[in-house]
Amino acid sequence: MKVSTEWLADYVSLENVAAEDLAEKITRAGIEIDEIENRNKGVTKVVVGYVKSKEKHPDADKLNICIVDAGQEEELQIVCGAKNVDAGQKVPVALVGAKLPGGLEIKKAKLRGALSQGMICSAKELGMNDKLLPKEQQEGILVLPESVQIGTPISQVLGLDDEVLEFDLTPNRSDCLSMIGAAYEVGAILGRDVKLPDIEKELVEVSDAAGDHISVKISSPEHCSHYAARYITGVKIGSSPLWMQNRLMAAGVRPINNIVDITNYVMLEYGQPLHAFDADQLTNGAIDVRLAKEGETMVTLDNQERKLEPHMLLITDGVKPVALAGVMGGLNSEVTDNTVNILLESAKFDGGTVRKTSRQLGLRSEASLRFEKEVDPGAVIPALNRAAALISRYAAGTVHKGIVESEPVSVEEKVIVLSFDKLNRFLGTELSMLEVKTIFSRLHFSCADTAQGILEVRVPTRRGDITSDVDLIEEIARLYGYDNIPTTAIEGPTTPGAYTKPQALRRDVRKLFTHGGWQEVISYSFTHPDLTALFPALTEGSHAVKLAMPMSEERSVLRTSVIPQLLDVAAYNANRKQHDLAMFEMGNVFYSQEEQLTAQPKEISVLTLLLCGSRGQKQWNQTPEKVDFFDLKGALETLFEYLGLQNSVSYVANKPQGYHPGRSASVYLTNDGGEQLLIGTLGQVHPQLQQDRGLSDMYTAEILLQPLYDYASKDIRYRELPRFPASERDIAVVVEDSVEAGAMLSVIREAAGELLQSVQVFDVFTGSKLGEGKKSVAIALVYRHNERTLTDEEVSSAHAAVVSQLEQTFHAELRK
């Protein structure tokens, strides 16, 4: 809401308060002032002049030579190029030495040989916003009404000596969508009185009763609690007075004609939108407020045919729709230059109804904005009367006697009981009763003590936002000043704070990876639908969750895996010459078991890794090596070891979707009950998927975090350090290429028995010497007994069992 200080001063004295100070005070009391706009954009020495004569410039077709009386000692000769300049006009004249917005300075000049002692200005040249100018002023020089005095500074005529405060209103403060509301707020802040227009004195009615000409019926009372109308005849459509136009422009509203301007002016003044119908276009003058019927249409003021729906509230004349209630008038009953008689409407429409209609039709106006936030029921009648008085004065209308309404509505002020004790307890203050009462009186809330420490506060109808005692406490607090509320510590016993186990583990895992050289990323939760089926679901239920109204296809569903996001990250970084990445994200993926969602989808926390490029930097003392599957697997092994889960995890080469079939695995966790849970996948991304993204050699893994939280163990049990020497034996065997090392190791563990302390694959190779489809696997075994030194025989016998089992199970040949 743009609040002109010049206008505001009609209702509350702003004496000795600079606009900046006022803005700061208003902001500190709860309404942020976004901007202070000075309407004078740098105009000096521009005055009203009278064009006494106009003659064509002898040497220039498009120029005129005007003799202008600008109230100076001598008449001025001014060369003017505007088409619309004419003798007999009053116009803004920039005198020699004048300054105009943009820094233009007016000097005595010769134009094509003719002396020019100034400049006749257009509205634009005076810095006025041309979007707000009436049509006739958008081109050519600005022609002023005859009534203005020659020599008067133009800033005075156009109301440029005005600073406009932009109120950035929170949704609860729609009371300040009106100048009077703003005046009450400023009055309360400054502790000054508020003076309202004296409507009774202004309004003169004729004896002919309005009710004889028009009638009002509300068929849909739940959507319209009050509808009041006045009948005004004999209006003369023309321009509204200059001061009114100036104020409208200050408020950001374009002047149109006297009737429209007056309805807008009163809307800005009282916050009550009004509508004027051409009464002669209403069949029988019979207003009926009702909901639209199925299939009904109407043409609105903007010449658009609107399809109506049964939830939309209409003003009809009993026969046809003439307005969309609170949203826009109908073309059929518009006030035009030929209008003589009008029906003036002031009503309270239900906010939700107006909101729904204006949303649906994409029609948002100053009026709908106010109705949506619920207008002050107490302003319906005063606004109607104020507008009628202005129309009678500035449009020569005759106001007929009486207000026509379905039935008079009595507007009652809310009474709220406030405990003085609660007020101080709630705020932590020690306000006195006198201080509290003073603040209420500044707000124009009347209050009375009904019992010891209990206040009954009457809240004016304009403050619909105040419904309970805490609302009153807020009013007291903000006017007392939040800065004056003390700073205290919470009383009562202290509580220990802590992370839960999953929260602590998540942070541990994050640290483990970052300290191991991995960079954490956060990617978007929204993704392209094509990307949701690339990688396997780690959980039951496989439907991706779609947004109802996404901003783009690219981000229209919730991610089901973070891997595609990290592939995008890799591509993004590759474009920036960053090819060596070790990145991880811990975030949620989303799945639903239902195609049509009726309940919240599953949100599953996953850890996703992406590894590509080289390990180690290119440096004088090291050569970067390409990362491979085992760098990735090693990272996971480190994680599981850290969580104490290394013995519960297994890797199965079952070709998970989206991965290179020969370089990938699913990860299983065997829980305490012996159940095997799928907890993740790892491997090289399928070459096709890599290629599609211009990538290569991407290694990725996705691991469910919940099972890790569930089964991770913090228990550390000390084992006695070995006191007896170990015996080390190496073995190298040739087996079929398809034999998995993991299987060999389990066979070895089983065959060697308790004496085997550790076993490690230390070499694997293939080669033509070994034969087609064969590989050599070299394994180091360490035998040890905890209580004595092993004899050579014991070790040899265990070792022989290992060799023989390998031979039997895998047809392994011992390499000598």
Binding site: I473, I490, T514, Q619
Partner: protein, 344 residues
């Protein structure tokens, strides 16, 4: 004989003094102290001495040997030291060449900020509460005193999934879920960090996905002055002991009274600069006393209990803390950006 010995000592010491290499030293050792050396040669004549003289000469002989040996040893030490010194000199490296670094990744700057804030509040006795990112209309709006068609729903543009399901626009629904879980127990002292989503066109200062941290305290006598005290303690731990706060009245449907909180500008310390638009203050938090309707919907009697709540945008705090110019950097995952935060 004594004279001979003294002469030998003199000669040997003189010779040794001038020696400059190990070879020569060994030669002289043999020459003077060897089995066929000069000293042995002289002492062979001991047999011709009287019983009185013999021990005297013997003593002198030992002294001479000792003196020569001592000098040889010290010479040897000196040679060894010099040799070691030389070898070490030859082994020197160019210390200005780079070393092999330990692998070091980094926490995402947003999580760095979240963890820092969490630690401050845990130190103040809070717990961390979390909730789903896909919420119901009830928890995200209605239970927070934002019934359907409430004008304040304009303030937030929501990604709906169905009419009843949506991407949460704030982490406040976690407050309601926590209140329900606590079943009327007090005190409630939680903070709720998490991702939230709003329909905003992305630009330098807007992102449709961002992170929030909200706080909630409910107890028997929680006052607005406690809210001020809590926030002051928090900002002083977060931004430094000289940080001050300033509350401005505002509006949130779930709190009453409500306030926006400004802190002393982190860049200029309140003197006024470009970052704070010369005001000396930066807006970083919204807060207020929990609205009685919200308490009621969460199962707390507003006549008996009161509480406060506050919320802040993690991105905004990270932007202010690190001086970042564009919110989109957080989600671009550009290594060049992220690496800057891979440190303490």
């Amino acid at each position: 004989m004594k004279e001979k010995l003294e002469a030998l000592r003199q000669e040997a010491l003189d010779q040794l003094q001038g020696v400059e290499d190990v070879q020569k030293l060994n030669d002289l050792r043999v020459k003077y102290l060897g089995k066929k050396g000069a000293l042995t040669e002289i002492l062979r004549g001991m047999g011709a001495l009287s019983a009185e003289e013999r021990p005297v000469i013997g003593q002198v002989g030992n002294e001479v040997r000792g003196a020569i040996e001592a000098l040889i040893e010290s010479k040897q030490d000196a040679f060894q030291k010099a040799e070691t010194e030389q070898r070490l000199q030859a082994e020197k490296v160019d210390v200005t060449l780079p070393g092999r670094k330990m692998a070091q990744g980094g926490v995402h700057p947003l999580n760095k900020v979240i963890e820092e804030i969490e630690e401050i509040f845990i130190g103040m006795g809070y717990h961390i509460a979390e909730g789903p990112e896909v919420e119901t209309d009830y928890y995200n709006f209605e239970a927070l005193n934002l019934p359907k068609n409430h004008p304040a729903r304009d303030m937030q543009d929501t990604f709906y999934i169905t009419e009843e399901l949506l991407m949460r626009t704030q982490t406040s629904p976690v407050q309601i879920r926590t209140m329900e879980k606590m079943e009327g127990e007090v005190p409630v002292k939680i903070i709720c960090p998490g991702k939230v989503y709003r329909r905003d066109d992305d630009d330098a200062t807007h992102s449709f996905q961002f992170n929030q941290i909200e706080g909630l305290v409910i107890g028997e006598n929680i006052r607005m002055s406690d809210l001020k005290g809590t926030l002051l303690q928090f900002v002083q731990e977060m931004f430094g002991p000289n940080t001050q706060i300033r509350l401005r009245p505002s509006f949130f449907p779930f709190t009453e009274p409500s306030a926006e909180v400004d802190v002393t500008c982190v860049k200029c310390g309140g003197n006024g600069c470009r970052m704070c638009k010369q005001t000396g203050w930066l807006e970083i938090l919204g807060c207020g006393m929990v609205h009685p309707k919200v308490l009621e919907m969460g199962g707390y009697d507003p006549e008996k209990y009161s509480g406060f709540a506050f919320g802040m945008g993690v991105e905004r705090i990270a932007i202010l803390k690190y001086g970042i110019d564009d919110i989109r950097h957080f989600y671009s995952s550009d290594l060049a950006f992220l690496k800057q935060f891979a440190r303490m």
